[in-house]
Symmetry: C2
Subunit: 223 residues, 2 copies
């Protein structure tokens, strides 16, 4: 692993723990946060806090209006975010078509421009919502495509999609974050943008499960 | 080939001829034009004209500031666009890292959202500037990645990157466009945004070569 990485930092539990983990390994970090028309903005505020805390060398906040491109409950306030869904049953309406493909591609462009060949993402596919672009098989295929589609790749280089959380459960992620003293109170997972997490969307339920199983108190939960 | 496609329409010679060609085959077209911080805006005006002429059902103009993400002579006015370069010698400074990867990914998101499985691009790799993401090998790899990274793909579908111009020379493209009566005067190829094409950038030189070899007058050339 070379010593620099571009991190996709959303400001949620996973990408914040990822950032803390890579920094603890001594990597020099560059972060990208996508402002893509999420219904909520809290994630972006969290990302700014986490980037500062972990001495990210450059933090890019990139605007792209996903509402213009495709429909999803995450980017269109007229579609309800499901509550208390059985989250393993199928790909939910919160799926944003090709979201990680777009985000990785922007990170790839930034990384190639900076001469950095690691792109880090906090994806995990144990306790997750079933999004196709969070699976290991997808990331392997993306790496192959990046090899033939970039100057660095055709000249012999290889971009790596670093995904250290991919096989971790939410419990494992909470335990890792806890051991690294990640300020969980400054991370945001809820799909909605209220003052406190809703507690019933997929993301809140997965987060709650992780903290509960890890035996760690989530500072964002009052009860 | 199903009867609908999302077309990446820049407003240049290639994508305009592509649009005319697909419309002549009876396809229902949806276009995406990227406003990515090009030094010039003329391409976008051309794209709007061509989309209207060929009855594109929906035309999305998507803003993304590539200047924020990476450096290239096409998006940064402080870098000079090379003149009278030997265009086959290497990948030039006009290369925008991962540009087609980003554009295809946005088109993929739009296509999946619309239930369309064809994405059309005017790339060609005979008379071209040597960009890695214009080659057939890249598009094949992209299709594989899209298969494992989208809901439609994992549920059994296949996205196709339609690229009918891929093995055509600029001469062939001019001849095809001419036979389809493409309004060449409303297409824009020059990398610079002056009132008339500069005549000396890669793109002008390739266009000139195509028209000359085809024995067709380019309405944008005065001499």
């Amino acid at each position: 692993m070379s010593d620099k990485a571009v991190v996709l930092l959303s400001g949620g539990l996973d990408s914040s723990t990822l950032t803390a983990y890579l920094q603890s390994k001594g990597m020099e970090l560059y972060a990208i946060t996508m402002q893509y028309g999420q219904v909520h903005k809290k994630e972006v505020e969290s990302a700014i806090y986490i980037a500062k805390k972990y001495n990210v060398k450059e933090h890019k906040i990139i605007n792209i209006n996903m509402n213009e491109i495709s429909k999803s409950a995450l980017t269109d306030s007229s579609i309800s975010i499901p509550e208390n869904r059985e989250y393993f049953q199928d790909i939910p309406v919160t799926y944003v078509p090709a979201r990680n493909i777009i985000f990785l591609s922007i990170a790839l462009s930034y990384a190639e421009s900076k001469g950095i060949d690691n792109i880090a993402i906090g994806a995990n596919s144990i306790d997750y919502s079933g999004y196709p672009d969070c699976r290991d098989e997808f990331f392997k295929s993306y790496e192959k495509m990046a090899k033939v589609g970039t100057k660095y790749g055709v000249e012999g280089g290889e971009f790596k999609i670093i995904r250290p959380l991919i096989d971790m459960s939410k419990k494992d992620i909470v335990l890792l974050g806890n051991s690294l003293k990640v300020p969980f109170e400054h991370t945001w997972s809820c799909y909605k943008g209220q003052d406190v997490p809703c507690g019933v969307c997929d993301s809140c339920k997965l987060r709650h499960k992780g903290f509960e199983e890890a035996g760690v108190k989530d500072p964002l939960e009052n009860h």
